[in-house]
């Protein structure tokens, strides 16, 4: 086990910015032709001076609509994207300068379960385990135990991943992440697209991970109920900016719905941003230049 530089703060982001450039060209124009005035590249600010701290053993939620910067944030922490500015530390290790150390402490589950679809769950997981230095026999033992805990029967373990349901594939993705026993687990919308039963099973497993293992969990979601039920604290992200953070109860205490009903995180969203969460779901990201 790698010694931790910071025993108490699992994740620290300080003033992190990330901007993407998107080329814009008129239909029918050749790449070598001089651009028109309206064809200049646009800059999409995915993370806008983001600062936050996740304490060890917390389940910390990032709540925001599609395109708000949740996945970019997870990718930056996962060492898959380099921030333009700011600092990101995992247990005190800098994700840019100490990338290898960070990689040994983290793992990630993304919204899409990415696998070699023709290979079986077992073959995919063995591959993942070997990359983290686990011997084959040890990996097999762990895989069987984790998949059993997640409710996947042995027959499914040896079927090609493409033959498994979306829910089963997502369970295999969670098994891949947990197999390497990360102490910071990044869950990027892990329950999106799952049926209610699979969703409940995954949520129960997330809770179990935190309670029975030395795991801190960063969970992104646009499901307010999930955020409320699972997370110790939540940060609300809107167009790359963190607009509020705190416990779900503290956030809800900030708003009072006009009809006098008990406030929800949806109401918090509405109050802080002026628009409901669902309405933004498929909006474009913010264009800043």
């Amino acid at each position: 086990m790698l010694p931790l530089k910071d025993e108490h703060v699992a994740l620290r982001l300080v003033d992190v910015c990330k901007t993407f450039k998107r080329e814009k060209r008129r239909k029918g124009r050749w790449p070598w032709q001089a651009p028109h005035a309206d064809e200049t590249a646009t800059l999409v600010r995915a993370l806008d001076h983001v600062s936050l701290e996740v304490r060890r053993h917390e389940i910390f939620g990032i709540l925001g609509p599609n395109g708000s910067g949740k996945s970019t944030l997870v990718r930056v922490v996962s060492t898959l994207l380099l921030p333009d500015s700011g600092r990101v530390e995992v247990f005190g290790y800098d994700v840019v300068r100490e990338e290898q150390a960070v990689k040994r402490l983290i793992n990630r589950v993304s919204v899409e379960a990415a696998f070699f679809k023709k290979l079986s769950a077992m073959e995919n997981l063995i591959f993942g385990a070997r990359l983290y230095g686990l011997p084959g026999a040890e990996a097999r033992r762990r895989i069987v135990a984790i998949l059993e805990r997640l409710g996947l029967d042995e027959e499914a373990t040896y079927q090609p991943v493409e033959d498994l349901s979306r829910g089963m594939q997502q369970k295999v993705a969670i098994a891949r992440a947990f197999l390497t026993q990360p102490i910071l687990l990044l869950l990027d919308e892990p329950t999106t697209g799952l049926d209610p039963r699979s969703r409940r099973e995954v949520q129960a497993f997330v809770r179990e991970l935190r309670d029975t293992h030395d795991a801190t969990i960063l969970l992104t979601t646009h499901d307010m109920q999930e955020a409320e039920q699972l997370c110790d604290r939540v940060a609300i992200i809107d167009r790359g900016r963190i607009v509020a953070s705190g416990t779900p109860a503290a956030l809800k205490a900030q708003v009072a719905p006009p009809d006098g009903a008990a406030p929800t995180l949806e109401d918090v969203f509405l109050a802080l941003t002026g628009r409901p969460l669902v309405e933004w779901a498929d909006e474009e990201k913010e264009v800043v230049a």
Binding site: L82, A114, L119, L131, G133, P135
Partner: protein
């Protein structure tokens, strides 16, 4: 020591995974191998037909052997290139590239694992083609130094790995057509390395370029070993530039790949949609 074991396990992971993929796509493997054998036979038939084409007496056996060596080396090189670049392209397509790049292994280990499989696969393919063509034309290899030829090919493999790694940056940066772009590198090597003709027939400036291609030395060494039965002592002259090229090309390939990876991470090109 534990670091070495961990890295060795990680390298083996790529070999094992690709073998598993071959098992799943066995039908395609048979098609590909059949195509490769037929293609090599077609090339060697040019040698068999040269007497008819020119109307003069030629040493048909020699020509067949000459072209056979060219087609074997070309096939070997192509397989190494294709496997390395397709593996990266495949990982991009399936979305697993992010998980592979997130793993706590050095890029050297990652690329060595991928290329190690490509070498095993390419050696197997080349051996099958050699056996098929030898049986088809009833070639006499009794005077050939086959062990020496294999050693030359092995020495050249190090350089081919380096070039393959350089070529692998194309699918890393261009998700849709990157794998096909590597054909540019292969085409240049085909032109300058003397695969089917001596480099001496090329213009002077292309002959200069041919000195930078490892395939030039592999072909020279293999032809000396198989056509002339040259002993190992004589093959040292071709093995030396191959080893020098390998020592330069492998670290260069890893360095270039790391730079491409950094660029991809800066611009957000690693995700599945590019």
């Amino acid at each position: 020591m534990s670091t070495l074991i961990r890295e060795a396990r990680a390298s083996y992971a790529f070999v094992e995974r690709n073998i598993n993929l071959i098992k799943r796509y066995w039908g395609w493997e048979i098609v590909w191998l059949s195509y490769s054998v037929a293609n090599s036979l077609a090339v060697t038939y040019i040698g068999a037909g040269m007497g008819y084409i020119s109307g003069q007496t030629v040493d048909t056996q020699f020509l067949i052997m000459y072209l056979l060596i060219g087609t074997l080396v070309w096939h070997f090189l192509s397989v190494v290139f294709d496997v390395v670049s397709e593996t990266v392209a495949w990982e991009r397509w399936e979305g697993t590239i992010e998980y592979t790049l997130m793993a706590p292994i050095s890029r050297f280990t990652h690329l060595v694992g991928t290329t190690l499989f490509s070498l095993i696969y390419a050696f197997f393919h080349t051996a099958v083609i050699l056996a098929a063509v030898v049986l088809f034309f009833r070639l006499d290899l009794s005077g050939a130094n086959l062990g020496g030829a294999a050693l030359v090919l092995l020495a050249g493999s190090v350089s081919f790995i380096g070039l393959g790694i350089v070529a692998a940056i194309l699918p890393l940066l261009f998700p849709e057509r990157g794998a096909q772009m590597t054909h540019v590198v292969q085409a240049v090597l085909l032109l300058v390395s003397g695969i089917y003709y001596p480099v001496e027939v090329l213009p002077d400036w292309l002959q200069l370029v041919s000195r930078l291609s490892p395939a030039t030395y592999v072909l020279r060494g293999m032809r000396a070993a198989i056509l002339d039965g040259a002993p190992l002592v004589e093959l040292r002259a071709t093995a030396l530039p191959l080893l020098v090229l390998g020592v330069v090309l492998v670290p260069l390939g890893v360095f270039v790949f790391q730079q491409a990876e950094r660029f991809a991470k800066r611009t957000g090109r690693l995700s599945r949609d590019g």
